[in-house]
Amino acid sequence: MATARSFRFSKSVLLALLLLLIVFLQYEYDATKVPLAPSASGSGVSPLMIRMADLGFSPAIASFLWATTMPEILDLFRDRTEYLGDEAFVNAVDPKMSYPYAFSVLTLPAVPTKAFPDGLKDAMVIGNRGLQTADPDWRIAYYMAMNYYLGLNDMKDALLYFDIAARTPGVPQFAERFSLNFGIGSNQRETTKELWTTIRDSTNDEFTKERAQTYIDHLDDLDIIQAAAAQYKEQYGVYPTSTSELVAKGILSAIPQDPFGFTFIINKDGTSGIDLNKLPSYILTEPAT
């Protein structure tokens, strides 16, 4: 009888200990938990309510909702603005899903101005929200840079956003090459250099300062080669066909080393540029899917 009672007691102690262990594991787990990305603010949807009911299905729910929201972009042509609210809802359900942000940044500015005057502005608001909360996706920054340049004539912000796109993991070859060399054409180079100089001198952020200096060095190298090519023409009557001729004829002591690793070329009209057939190895490496 006493043995049976003590057996029952030890069973109860075991169960209580297991329960305590569960509490301890939960406590320890919480210390290692990665916090969720913050939801879009001002969407009119309570992220708490969404998470209360999602049972861990939020990425799939967001994807389903996105499939029905995407076609609504066409309704903007008919002055119906449900797309904006629904897109914000999708962002609130899964703030990390990057495609809705990228799609909005790309397409909203294309909506006719009369019917929907704030398309460009809204695109930038959504894009910035995406850059803060979504998975790294080069398309968001790349399309924003395009909008700044083409829609808002804002070259300075275009440069900054192209730089973000170039630094985003998984950026494809063409986009990285284009982003790093945006504004290097001989007709734009001075303006680009001035803008990067302004960025460098006006920021307190060390990383941005360093990055701006790298772009300035890249542009300086192009200028050096172009100036040397002009000097070559003065001396020999024709432009050199390659940068090595500048060294061979003693105009340059060495070909400048590009900070981004590109190979410089001299075009037929004497302007300098980059060799598209000899890209740096880090660009040639296929991005991870």
Binding site: K11, L14, L15, L18, L19, L21, I22, V23, L25, Q26, Y27, E28, Y29, T32, K33, V34, L48, R51, M52, D54, L55, G56, F57, P59, A60, A62, S63, F64, W66, A67, M70, D94, K96, M97, S98, Y99, D135, T289
Partner: protein
């Protein structure tokens, strides 16, 4: 040990003959096939395609676990199989453990079929071999094993219908306990009521930690310690539930 294995094997044999299990698996496969169409709707955006597939596997596995966990134990009692087994040199603890491992094997069978379809889908959509997706499915399996243990535990003292209600309740609450605690903190709940919420949070099965789908879909970093603690949590909770189930079943007159 041998007895547990024999009961587990027989449970597997018995359950895989169930037409309803195949029905659920076929629906799961159809859903994954339907994901091909859904992926066109979202312009083949890979994170979205993965979210559809992984959620489908999770949903159909949950149905399988709910169906198996809440019916299998009762069927044995109903069909008097349990009398036959317990008349042999088999303890009640061995019977409960055998049932649990057998049902886990059936769940694994369903998971493997759906996972193969999912991996095929991602390969077809040029997403490569989704290793992180498999890891997320493994974590889902762990959650379902806990879910099964709870269903067996409930089955030892309640009716089949109530088991379904309790187990579904645990599934829902297990995913919202974290949110309830956050909400309690946000609204500044204090005193005894907050303590009660905290007790609920720490004692109730917290299933959120098995959601590694974000890892596969968004490549959100999940520390190894989190994985290890989640596995330990599942193991300890399963031991607790099965111990309690054995204890109750031992006392039960059949």
């Amino acid at each position: 040990m041998r007895n547990i294995f024999v009961i587990a094997k027989n449970t597997l044999k018995l359950e895989v003959r169930e037409k309803i299990l195949y029905g659920i698996i076929i629906f799961g496969l159809l859903y994954i096939f339907f994901t091909l169409f859904l992926s066109d709707l979202v312009l083949k955006e890979l994170p979205m395609v993965k979210s559809f597939g992984l959620t489908g596997i999770y949903f159909f596995n949950a149905i399988v676990a709910l169906f198996l966990g809440t019916t299998s134990f009762f069927k044995d009692v109903d069909r008097k199989v349990v009398y036959f087994i317990l008349s042999k040199p088999v303890s009640r603890a061995q019977f409960v453990l055998g049932k649990f491992f057998g049902l886990c094997m059936v769940l694994l069978f369903a998971s493997v079929i759906l996972s193969v379809a999912y991996i095929g889908l991602i390969l077809y959509e040029h997403g490569g071999f989704d290793t992180l997706g498999l890891l997320a499915i493994a974590m889902q399996f762990l959650e379902m094993a806990l879910f099964l243990a709870f269903a067996i535990f409930v089955s030892t003292f309640s009716s089949s219908l109530l088991s379904i209600v309790y187990t579904s309740g645990v599934f829902f609450l297990g995913h919202v306990v974290s949110t309830i605690l956050d909400a309690a903190k946000q609204i500044g709940l204090g005193g005894m009521r907050f303590v009660l919420v905290e007790i609920l949070y720490y004692v109730f099965p917290n299933l959120e930690k098995f959601d590694a789908r974000d890892l596969a879909i968004h490549a959100v970093a999940m520390p190894f310690t989190s994985f290890a603690l989640a596995v330990a949590y599942a193991a300890v909770y399963i031991i607790l539930l099965l111990s309690a189930a054995i204890w109750i079943f031992d006392k039960k007159e059949i």
